[in-house]
Structures are given as structure tokens and as C-alpha cells.
Amino acid sequence: MIKWSGNPLRVATVLFILFLPAASFGQYDLIDIDNPFSRKIPMAIPAFSALNTADGDPALMQKATDILTKSLDFTGFFNMIDRGAYLLEPGKSVAATDQINFRNWTTIGAELLVTGGLSQTGTLVDIELRLFDTLAGKRLLGKRYHGTVDDIRPIILRFCNEVIVQLTGKRGIFDSRIAFISTGSGNKEIYICDFDGSSPVPFTRHGTISLSPAWSSDGKWLAYTSYINNKPDIFIRQTEGSQKAVVMEKGINITPAWVPGQFTLSATMSFEGNQEIYLLTGSGKIIKKITNNWASDLSPSWAPDAKMMAFVSNRTGGPQIYIQDIKSGQVERLTFEGSYNTQPSWSPTGDRIAYASMAGSRNNIFTIDLKRRRPLQLTQDTGSNESPSWSPDGSLIAFSSTREGPSRIYVMTAFGADQRRLLTMPGEQSTPSWSPNLSKN
């Protein structure tokens, strides 16, 4: 019955659906990620069990259980029920089958149950994962995967994505990564880590100041500012590959931001004497000037439909957030509260803009909804909080904060809940930039 083919070397997650899905994608909207008051759904994830009565390596089982639990917990959608409360015989796990005693789970308040099973043959593993709605007493997802021991994390993340699609109707964040600045080497360099802060790797080794990483909407390019030439220029580089370009006009070349769905970016440049936002091709050629005002115009951030652009301007004195209709050129001031509002970041859902607002000497993260234009403060009394960047599904915001002393990167929900540190590294970290989903499927 089980058959697999293809090449098992390349992140070899040969996937097949064991069972017909109980509900088709998106029809089971348990979670509304745009609702600030949506409650966390109680979820139980018992430890992985061995498949086929074969004894699995306990360390591998533990690792798989941890990845599954931490990844789903990271989304902020679920309330993970403490394993000590499970009505299981001590030392027993839940077999990876459809035979579930749902009462055992509804009794402890679990509304969702995820079970995992694993068997290992040499360096190869088989993994079964299931998602159950315990109240309805039915299975929502059932998947079986095959790969190598090194594929355990990608396999589990793939299943997590399916869980999120099933429950929210939207793709999850498990294929995304976060670029950021770290000073660990003694210089500001760009690093990239996984969505959950794991596996940070250096992206630049320029030995100078590098700033403002920005992902293209297909995730294949990063643009950033660097002082390689002893002044701020924009460098455009493939994330995997060797193609690159540089924008090194006279003056400053800063705050790159890609236009969604296009190989085009916007950036602030001053070669004509005034700091204006320009549109550039992905290879760094100037297309046209977008803003035209005596003041400084900088930090563009695009609406997901690319029809509008938010940016910072000090045309009325202190810096404020403005939005511009690209077609008509019409500009509108968006923020009126506070005297120093910068770093706009347009939500991937299109309806909100996150930004940093300074009062005293500290910044805090706010969002403003485009309909009612009401600012909502997401951080307070916790050091200086800057550089908001949305997860690709719009459910989370990464930002930097000095709440623990040195600047570090944190993540919170789109409404400010569950603020937690993303990662710990030597030096200080800042300016997170969340990638789009990078799945090659």
C-alpha cells in the first residue's frame, strides 16, 4: 500500500494523504486571525508514540514532540494544555490511530487534539500526524510522511502549515524566515533565522554598518543599506544565488522596500539634493521619483495590492506617517497623535499599518486601522520598542525592544498579546524583517 518514489535526498518529504480530509480547506474557520478578541483554542498534544509497535528512539520521539508543540504554540492561536493534566496511564502515549477516546480530551478541556507517531529504520523515518476536533469527535487531518531523520523538522512544519490552513483558511508562517541586524561580530551585520528564531545564520560579512533588510515579495531577494563604500548605499542580493546590484548615487541611498508582486523596489535617495522616495528596478535602475516635497520623505512600505504606499515625512515639522495613492499621487496624513511617528509597516492583510511612536526618549509600537484611523498601542512601559514587521499571514508582529537592557528581537500577536523574545545571540539585535512564505511548492 505504501509506495514512495522520487529522490529521498532532497528534503525528502514524500507525502501522501492517508485518508480523505474530513473538511476541505478553509471551510473550517475555527480561528479568525483578524479578530482581536478571538479566544485561544485549548489544544492537547500528547507525546509521539511508536508506529507499528516498533520501539522508537525516545530522544527522537521527544524531539518530534517538542518541534510540534513549540511550532503550534508559536502561532499564539492555541492554549496548550499541560501534559500533567492528561487522562493517560503514566508512561503511556496515545497511539497514532483514529481510535480516540474523545471524552478523555473533552473532560480536560481540550477542543483540539494532535497526535503523532514515528518509526525509524536506520536514518529513515515514517511519521503519522493527525488533527482531531474533540468536541465534534472527528478527525480533521491525517497525514503520513516519509523522509530522513534530518527531515523531521521540515515534515512537522509542513503538517503544522496544514493544521493552520485547516483552522484559519490561511497559510501559516512556518515557511517564513526573519532577517535582522546583529552586532555580535562587532559590526552591524544582517542575519537570517527561521520564523521561530531558530538557526540564525549570517547573511552579510561586510565588516561595516549594514541596516534595513527588506525582502522581495517572492522571498528571493534582500535589499539593504550598507556602508561598504563609506556611505549609505543600497545593496540588492539574491538570498540563494549570486546575483546582485548596488544603488550608489551621490548622497544617501536608504530604506529599501520592495513593491509587492513586482521586481521593483522603492527607496529614499538624495542625489537630486532633497530626500525623496524613488521607484527602482530590481537591478537598481531608477524608474521615477514618487514623492515630491521640500521635506524628508523616507521609509516606504507598500499596501499588499501595491496601489498605496505609506511613508514618513517631516513636512509638517516632526516625522509623521503619510499614505500616497500611487496612481493619482494624492497624499494623505495618517497619524496625528504624537509628535514623532516613524517606521510604517503595512499589514499583509491590508487593513492596518504598524509603526513606532516616540514619547519622551522611547518608542512604542502602535497600529492604526485604515478605516477608522484609530491608533492602538501594542507595547508600553517596556524599554524602547521599534521596527515592527508583520508575519506573512498578518497574525504576528516582530519588533525590537530594550526591555531587558540590550536591544533584542521579540514577537507578539497583531493585537499585542503574548510578547516573547525571539532569540538570544551575542551582541544586540534590531530591525527584524519578516519574509513572505518561502515554500517552494
Binding site: 548622497g251 524628508s296 514618513v312 516632526g318
Partner: protein, 175 residues
Amino acid sequence: MRRKLWIFLALFMVIPVLLGTVSCAKKTVTKEEPAPVATPAPAPPPPPPPPVEDPAAKAFEMAKGEFLDTNIYFAFDKSNLDDMAQATLKKKAEFLKIYPDVYVTIEGHTDERGTAEYNLALGERRADSAKSFLVDLGIEAYRLSTVSYGEERPVCTEQTEDCWAKNRRAQFVIN
């Protein structure tokens, strides 16, 4: 006024250090070994400059020292030049007129408040203000380049208004 205070402070720091090095030297003499040079003095007295025969070169060195050591300062989120900044720039213009072979880079800096990107833009506006003023005083624009470092190169890292004020500066470098 502030300048006098600094000179006073500097002397205050230097004199004990001088005394320290003297006593150190004595000890090493008894050991009949070359004196270790590692004295982590925060402000060691300037070593006697190599004998300068040419008084013109000496004058240049002195003028250059003052030119490089004097920054101009700005108010928070401002790039306009106050009276003090203008007076300092007038002196710099005199120096640049006397020495027409000198080319300089004006670095614009900000304090750490606010956000990095806006501060990069602000730093450039500060450097540009200083440059425009010098050009208006007759200095050739091609001798003056500018670069913004925003908040990336503070001279003072405490979170106090005093420290922020020192960081909000345009600084001059001779190319």
C-alpha cells in the same frame, strides 16, 4: 564656559596620570629593565611633536587640530544652525580659505533617540546645513563632501540629555 570646564577636567585627569607614570618609571629603573610602555592613561600628555622647523607647517598643524576638534551641535530633530554653530563654521571657513588645498568630509550625526532610518536622513540634513553655510561663505562646494552616520557613531553612550547633546553634531574630517 563648557570648554573651560573640559580643560579643567582634562587637567584633573592628566596630572595624577603623570604622577603615576613618573613613579612607575622609578620602579623600572631599579629593575634595570626598559620601562613597560603600557600605561592605560585616558588622556596621556601629547608626546613632544617632532621638531618642526617650518613655522608655517607648525601653524597649519595647530589650526588643523582646532579645525578637527571643534564640532557643531544641533537641537533635537533639528538641522538648522544656531548662533554658536554659525560662529564655529565661520572659523572653519577662515581655515579653509587660508589652506585651499584642504578637502573635508562633513559627517552628520544624531543622538540615539527616535529611529535609525529617520536619523540617517536627519544626519544628512545636518551635514548639508553645515556645507551650505560654508559654501555661502565662499568655500568651493567641491572641497566639501558630506556623509550621514545617523545614530550609528555616537561619541557618548549614556542615556542623558548631556550625552545626547554631544551626539547631535556635525563633525569634520580632512580627506
